[in-house]
Amino acid sequence: MNILVCIKQVPDTTEIRIDPETNTLIREGVPAIVNTFDVFALEAAARIKDKNPDTNIVVVSMGPPNAVNALKECLAIAADKAYLISGRKFGGSDTLATSYILKNAVQKIEELEGYKFDVVFCGKQAIDGDTAQVGPELAEHLDYPQVTCALECEVNNGRLEVLKEGEDVNLLIGIKFPCVITFTKPGFDPRYASIKRKMAANRAEIPVLGDDAFPDIDTAMIGLKGSPTRVKKTFVPQRMKGGLIVDGETVKDSSLKLVQILSDKKVI
């Protein structure tokens, strides 16, 4: 099995704070991490490799040069090889342009490695953008079938069987190779990197594929020019001042007051 895992380096959104003076995001000092959902995708790949040791796991990321750190972390956890896609012309890409660049990257890496990927794994969404679009858009560009919101998967009868988190039930779905699967949070914890793998990952040379690695890419479909959406404005959501603290002499008084309010407001 050959598995490609797409990952993104993101700011740890749990560490983001708002500057109360300027009402803007404070980005300095916020640690960069591997997107949480991408770690679940990598874990799914590692679990396939646990059962089928001759599996190749390649990770790819499109991002700035320092995204090699995220790729090294993936190497330390489970990946065999990593590629960084980083080019000036790729800047400003929205999800449609990004997924088109990634499609080209998939094909380029296949050419360099000399084999085809059976599956492409992605996180369901990135925790900074939360769009959940790049996975399905990449699947469409590749003309591969997709399953989104997967919890876990298994190779069975020559195809992949994927447990998908549905609206109110889970679904077991069979999908043919090659395919794209996006992962959400499973019921188990992903593995950690061993010290040995960490040291090897630190020494690893990560090939960077820049603008010149893609001579045939349609430049009208990448960067700002290739992005149909644009951000008109951003703003920090209005913080509510907080509501009414229901305060009685005793817990019973407070509870009675609250029941009265909820009943007056016809909430209960």
């Binding site: 959104t13 749990t14 983001i16 995001l25 929205d94 449609l96 997924s99 925790i127 900074d128 939360d130 769009t131 959940a132 790049v134 996975g135 399905p136 858009e137 469409e140 560009h141 399953v147 989104t148 919101c149 447990l163 609206e167 039930v169 889970n170 679904l171 077991l172 779905i173 069979g174 999908i175 043919k176 395919c179 019921g187 149909p228 959406t229 644009r230 951000v231 008109k232 404005k233 951003t234 703003f235 959501p237 913080r239 509510m240 001042k241 907080g242 509501g243 009414l244 603290i245 229901v246 817990v251 407070s254 509870s255 609250l258 029941v259 309010i261 909820l262 407001k265 909430v267 209960i268």
Partner: protein, 336 residues
């Protein structure tokens, strides 16, 4: 693609029994105003198997026109069948705007379809309006875990597509239908559907947790201190006829299953009443519940951020408050 009409489409997702999911019907509400502003019709697109009930539902919620695709291949949902069907309809009629409820299937279909159409999609919007300067739809959505809101336009390609978070809009009142119903004949061959539903699995405890459809949710967080600590939370939910939710901290501690999780890595909910018990209110949790109509927080720490989004709060230990509150609500509901 160039738009041939100024129509606004709303995708109506159906269940296996042919009824409409709420998310799509809700979108006919903002869709009405936006279609009028765009100067086009409000069109409901109903796809599924034996969908008469869903068509009737859309008609009663103010659709001007209903496009119907009915066939066994449309139930259960598959990415391939629905993308092919929607692509066919959009090529044929070329609307200017398409809104899809950001359900599990809506967020599977939206990007796949947008990519095939080579157009822009804005995901999981919490507000939609017409941008006066350009006449485009202004799609507003949270990013960075709810820390930042972004308003996004798609100016040069059509249709402009957005998925909209369920529960943000309420359904309009039922009206006497005036919709023109147009049955479309388009079918997807079995070999074009590249996935197969092997089986439906209810989650481990055989419980179905319908947080997104719940009217009342009572959630527990780190403050419940253990699996047993959920008992008073469950008792309050039961007396209110509500569903039990949980914060990530409680789920990660293994006190309750992930199916109950509300927040960025769980479900996004917007019930009529949300009671947060022993939840500090990290931004990721607030992102998943701040759209609720009425929020009550019970926490012993007056400084907890949950009180910033709560309409009403009680400062106190949930183990003291919940049994008494549950009892008072029981008395109240017995009276009324």
């Amino acid at each position: 693609m160039e738009a041939k009409t100024k129509d606004l489409w709303v995708f109506i997702e159906t269940r296996d029994d042919g009824t409409a999911r709420n998310g799509g019907i809700e979108l006919l509400n903002p869709g009405r105003g936006l279609a009028d502003k765009q100067g086009g019709k409000l069109v409901a697109v109903v796809i599924g198997n034996n969908v008469e009930k869903a068509v009737e539902d859309a008609a009663q919620h103010d659709a001007d026109e209903i496009l119907v695709l009915d066939g066994t291949e449309y139930s259960p949902y598959t990415t391939d069948a629905y993308t092919n069907a929607m692509y066919y309809l959009i090529e044929k009629y070329a609307p200017t705007t398409l809104m899809i409820a950001a359900t599990s299937n809506g967020r599977d279909l939206g990007p796949r379809l947008a990519c095939r159409l080579k157009t822009g999609l804005t995901a999981d919007c919490t507000s939609v309006d017409l941008d006066e300067e350009t006449g485009d739809i202004a799609w507003t959505r949270p990013a960075f875990g709810g820390n930042l809101m972004a308003t996004i336009l798609c100016s040069d390609t059509r249709p402009q597509i957005g998925t909209v978070r369920p529960g943000v809009f309420k359904k309009t009142a039922v009206i006497t239908p005036h919709a023109e119903i147009m049955k479309e004949d388009f079918h997807v061959a079995p070999d074009q559907i590249r996935t197969e539903l092997i089986k439906i699995i209810k989650n481990a405890a055989e419980e179905i947790v319908d947080l997104e459809g719940a009217e009342i949710i009572v959630s527990g967080g780190r403050g419940v201190k253990g699996a047993e600590g959920f008992e008073p939370v469950k008792a309050l939910a039961e007396v209110l006829g509500g569903t039990v939710g949980a914060s990530r901290a409680a789920v990660d501690s293994g006190w309750i299953s992930h199916a109950h999780q509300v927040g960025q890595t769980g479900k996004t909910v917007a019930p009529r009443l949300y009671i947060a018990c022993g939840i500090s209110g990290a931004i990721q949790h607030r992102a998943g519940m701040s759209g609720s109509d009425c929020i009550v927080a019970i926490n012993k720490d007056r400084g907890a951020p949950i009180f910033e989004v709560a309409h009403y709060g009680i400062v106190g230990d949930l183990f003291d408050v919940l049994p008494i509150l549950t009892e008072e609500i029981r008395k109240y509901t017995d009276r009324s």
